[in-house]
Amino acid sequence: MTRKVIKAAPKKTTMKKAIPSDIDTQAGYVRIEDAPLLPPPPSEVGVTGWLYKNIFASMSDFGSVSAALKSVFVAASTLFILYFLVTQISGLLDFAIFSAVWSDPEGLKRQACWTVEQGGALPNGWHAACWPFIEAKAKFIFYGAYPNDDLWRVNLTYALGGFMLAWVMIERLPYRKIVGILLLTVYPVMATVLLTGGAFSISTGTIGGATILGLALITIGRLGKAGYVSGAFGDLALVAGVCGWLVILFAAVLAVFAIDFDLEAIDTRDWGGLLITLVVAITGIVASLPLGILLALGRRSEMPVARFLCTVFIEFWRGVPLITVLFMASVMLPLFMPEGVNFDMLLRALIGVTLFSAAYMAEVVRGGLQAIDKGQYEGADAVGLSYWQSMRLIILPQALTHVIPGIVNTFIGLFKDTALVSIVGIFDLLGAAQSTLADAAWSTPVQGLTGYLVVAVIFFVFCFGMSRYSMFMERKLNRSHKS
């Protein structure tokens, strides 16, 4: 039975050479040349193709009743969302830039942002940002009640920190490790002295005592290293040596705090705004990571008492809201301390925030520890590393790299949570901005929105920046793993 064969395109003589001789080129059904290449369908290329793939593909199925209903629904909601996005974004731009009042040359204060109805000069129905208000309050929003003459100290602290941080983060620069260590050790001491003014009343006896104790411990450590202390006590002597160095370091910090640099002492009650937000966030971030690592190791430890205590600690802090922690820090911490010991309000909040985020950090780190293959632990044991050596050299570097996104998420959460200190009466960025809204001299209907917009943008820049940097780090570290 023969089939009807489709007629091929007219033959071209030039193509004949390429055809093997054993094919009957005269037969009408043999195709002896390539079909012409068709252009790609318009739904695949160009602007229309892009539009089809990204927008219309989801709403062009009318094959059945339910598919058609879905397409119509998707089309309608696309239009609605597009309308919503356009109106909202243009409204925001209009509010913040195009219609906003930018300057107040005549010093009218609130009247500069009043409509005719309210007694000002702006057209009725005007609703946009009042930037002169922010300009007038900028110092308070950024520094709180910090004395004007001493603002250079805050700025110097920012500049130093920013400079060192940038140095650590830019990969081409030399000595990044040293700068990083300085950033974590020397910088906090410098920042404390610069911001508070230093010259704390610490008796020379305390400093001297600590120094002598440290030296004695170091001596014991040296003796142990040289082999004069035998057996089991040799290990203890080495531990004593390490502790000795820590005590000496502590004494040195105390000594620096005791020196009078002739800076005016500024009470933390006068700090405020962005300064407080950064101080709380950065202290919390720097202190909670090591604490969290210790807690995580404790929770994974084989010693039941240590494990139990760490678990209880972590679950307690994770089980209560931060507000209650801050309430507790501000109301109950003074009760816990012996008479006469009085903690600074800011210090109380710092302790609360640090313990709180350390518990979250511990859970993130624990996740990383659990993700490490058991062989790594066994390998470290097999080459004879001690517990701390294997943690420091084998386990933690891998575990922490695994959980960078989680760690940064905790940092971002902590940064946002600093806003809560305003509830216990510390004027952080949000608290300072909120309190400027009570100023009658600038009272306008747009005052609140303008203030909130500024605070939101500042928080957004910090948090978004952190999350993008973590994504960048993650990609970079991932690549080095795969190669």
């Binding site: 008492v305 089980g319 109301v331 009760l335 978004f464």
Partner: protein
Amino acid sequence: MFGRDRSLTSLLNDTFIRGILFQALIAIGLLLSINWLADNTLSNLANQGKTLGFDFLTRTAGFQISPTLGTWMLDYKVGKSTYTDVYLIGIINTFIVALLGILAATVIGFTVGIMRLSDNLVFRWFSSFYVEVVRNVPLLLQLFFWYFAVLRAMPSKREKLELVEGVAGLNITGLYLPAPIVSDGFIYSFLSLIGAIAITFLVRRYALRRQAETGQILPMFWIGLSIILLLPVLVHYLNGSPLDWSLPEFKDTGPKLRQGYQSGAGMVLVPEMLAVWLALSLYTAAFIAEIVRAGILAVSRGQTEAAYALGVRPNVTLRLVVIPQAMRVIIPPLTSQYLNLTKNSSLAVAIAYPELVSVFAGTALNQVGKEVEMIFMMMMVYLTFSLMTAAFMNWFNSRVKLVER
């Protein structure tokens, strides 16, 4: 030198003995510091002339609490209700706002999360924009925004913004909605709803067994929906519809001071509660959206392709292959978001919504001054809830864990 004794040396080098020694040290240190803290606390309290004890719970409270679900349920009256009532009101108000928040956040979060995976660019744009903006701005600021910038800008007490003509309206004093008035027979309608749910479960069991035996599938969704909808409605109307609605009543005539929404008609959601609800649900929804997206992406493409290769239709693939596996990934972080939402409801103290922190650790603490006891009681509520959630999570995880050979 010391320590020549071999047995002592080997004893100290024994990891087990070392562990015990170390733990004993920790335990002793902990006990000593607890003792020190307790000692300090007691002497400080004694210096302030205070004692420990829970007798304040039976004293009557002398302050106003704004009308909310808690005050309505416990019939709160100044000078008559006790501090125990205040505590319970705080708990009820915390949980009602957390419950409403969880419901709204789940709906919004799943919608936005699925939109983020859509083919439609506009949907993707919108959801990325939403998630990035909301996640990177503090919740407290969002709460202030909704409360001070949006709800405070609503029409004044004597005016209204009509949402549904005669039924729902909004002004600066809150959102006015119809209130249900329950009469005697309503309990039967309620019971029949529970019965309908139970019957649906039984029918579902039958349907599953039938499918296992014969391979035939019952349209379980439609059957269940009709049982759950029809049975209670039928019982309700046969019983003479024992439920009435009290509509909110708005007056714009008569003496100026009497204008506005009238008390006693309809029900009002105070603006503080609305602000907390909006802020909490929108904020948590952004996190839920990310969880949902990650969960769906975690189901490998091979699963979908395998289902298609077996000839399973796309809708059924989604329902029986993708969603069950995605849910396994989604539910643990989702639960912790619910927990976060509940804990975050404590931010409501900033705008004075009478929840636990605000009303008990705030107002009542100022009146009574029993810091230790009251903060302990407050923390216990949150801790209990957290531990209950954790217990549920463990149960769930052990249930859905991949059973490997």
